[in-house]
């Protein structure tokens, strides 16, 4: 199965419902038919990724769209936890935030994110991000699915 045929599960981690709806609209407009799931903060995102606390585990391959400022567990705390977990450490993550602070950009790339995108301009730039993801999902190979628990 090549890149353009397989399905990638996208997990948007964002505490703003309007941003999630904006992403859904932009996905629809861009004609992206990969499923888009949502988590409201880092804690919920980890539960979805691990299938913990009664949540269905998000199938792989998956791509995470991560906001930085969130209640309970911020984007950075989530990234630290994600990179420490052997089963999740290879996750593909794009940061999507309103912050254009250099310290945030540097911090995100230290956690090996695949890209840092700023929500700005009219509509928060979601159309732009959807267009980027559309090409990305069609062209990029993801970490292979693994069987069983990882050592």
């Amino acid at each position: 199965m090549n890149a353009s045929e397989r399905q990638v599960h996208i997990l948007m981690v964002d505490d703003d419902d309007v941003d999630i709806r904006a992403m859904q609209r932009s996905f629809r407009k861009a004609g992206i038919d990969h499923p888009l799931a949502a988590a409201r903060d880092g804690v919920e995102a980890l539960e979805v990724l691990r299938g913990a606390n009664g949540k269905d585990r998000l199938p792989r391959p998956c791509l995470i769209l991560l906001d930085l400022n969130m209640p309970r567990m911020s984007g950075f705390e989530f990234l630290r936890e994600l990179r420490r977990d052997p089963a999740l450490s290879d996750s593909v993550v794009f940061v999507q935030t309103t912050s254009d602070a250099d310290s945030d950009k540097a911090g995100a790339y230290r956690h090996n994110v695949s890209g840092y995108l700023i929500k700005e301009g009219s509509g928060g730039g979601f159309d732009r991000l959807a267009a980027l993801l559309n090409q990305y999902l069609d062209s990029v190979e993801f970490p292979p699915a693994r069987t069983g628990a990882q050592a």
Partner: protein, 344 residues
């Protein structure tokens, strides 16, 4: 009558008296020597002590030291006493000075902390206020997209006004954010050509056409953070254009050097500003026209003033109604801008 005495006898008497003379001389000499030694010691010791105390005070900067008082009442004793009084006076003053210094340092620290807090507040406020604003804009545009054809023309116009106000608030927040960062997050100082900075501002702000921006003097090379200089010239030039009443206005930029300070003037031949508003133009969010007439944040000159002052310079305005406006700002030749960063 001549008495004959034995020569030996005669000499013996002489010898005796000269021995006793010599010994009494010797004794007297010894006494004088011992006496003068005593006097000398009595005189010298306090002076030596005074000198050594003075040396210690000088080398240790310890004004609590005192010269020992061995004898009082004579001039040397008085000298030592005066010296000690002087030491006490200096010590007291030193103590007060140190207390004042401590208070000043504490006040300074407090000022620095509250400044940083204020800047952080402005940053967080403008940053966090943008998210709901973007949501409002999104929702308004979705209403338009999804059910625009169901709306009356009046509602459509209202929706457009709603979105234009959202854009205005977005600009105000950007300006507030920029304002909060001045002096905190300037780029590195480097050698730059002011003529190039002005050219960049012209490319960015001057519409093609009849408006002219010219330098009437040579413009220097100087060491400064380019972003700060761009902000100052950019805002002054774009202001002059935005508030001009003709399309063929002229802006003149000049430079002169006063001792170690550069002084630049940006002069326009626009409508001028009534002197009673001169202080107001530098305040935050101040506009002299309704924003519906001239769209602007009212932050431009506040940004300019804060930037210039953060670099250790000053800005002043000269203008009157119908006689154009000149902004003159100074910029110390070598400035080391504060390089603190607000990490959020």
């Amino acid at each position: 009558m001549v008495t004959k005495i034995d020569r030996k006898e005669a000499f013996a008497a002489l010898e005796r008296s000269s021995v006793s003379l010599a010994s009494s001389l010797l004794i007297t000499g010894g006494c004088v020597f011992l006496l003068s030694l005593g006097v000398a010691r009595r005189m010298m010791t306090p002076i030596v002590d005074l000198a050594s105390t003075a040396r210690r005070v000088e080398s240790e900067s310890d004004f609590s030291l005192r010269a020992p008082l061995m004898v009082a009442g004579d001039e040397i004793g008085e000298l030592n006493q005066s010296f000690n009084k002087m030491l006490k006076a200096i010590g007291d003053r030193e103590c007060k000075l140190r207390e004042r210094e401590d208070r000043l340092r504490a006040a300074n620290e407090e000022l620095r902390r509250s400044n940083a807090e204020l800047e952080q507040f402005a940053y967080v406020a403008s940053h966090d206020l943008k998210s709901p604003l973007r949501a409002i804009d999104n929702l308004a545009s979705w209403i338009d997209e999804d059910s625009g054809e169901l709306l009356t023309n009046e509602s459509k116009a209202d929706l457009e006004l709603l979105r234009s106000r959202v854009r205005r608030m977005d600009c105000l927040l950007d300006a507030l954010l920029e304002y909060s960062r001045i002096g905190q997050q300037e780029d590195e100082s480097r050698s730059i050509s002011v003529a190039e900075i002005v050219d960049q501002c012209i490319a960015l702000h001057v519409p093609p056409g009849d408006f002219s921006v010219t330098a009437t003097t040579r413009l220097p090379e100087m060491v400064a953070p380019p972003g700060a200089l761009l902000r100052v010239f950019g805002n002054l030039i774009s202001n002059a254009i935005k508030h001009h009443d003709r399309r063929d206005g002229r802006i003149e930029i000049s430079w002169r050097k006063l001792d170690d300070t550069h002084e630049f003037t940006v002069r326009d031949d626009g409508p001028g500003i009534d002197p009673r508003f001169h202080d107001r133009v530098f305040e935050l969010f101040q506009t002299l026209k309704r924003r519906d007439e001239v769209e602007g944040s009212g932050m431009g000159l506040a940004l300019v003033k804060k930037t210039v002052e953060a670099m250790g310079g000053r800005i002043r305005i000269e203008s009157a109604v119908r006689s154009g406006t000149a902004f003159t700002f100074s910029w110390p030749e070598t400035t080391t801008p504060a390089s603190g960063h607000v990490d959020i």
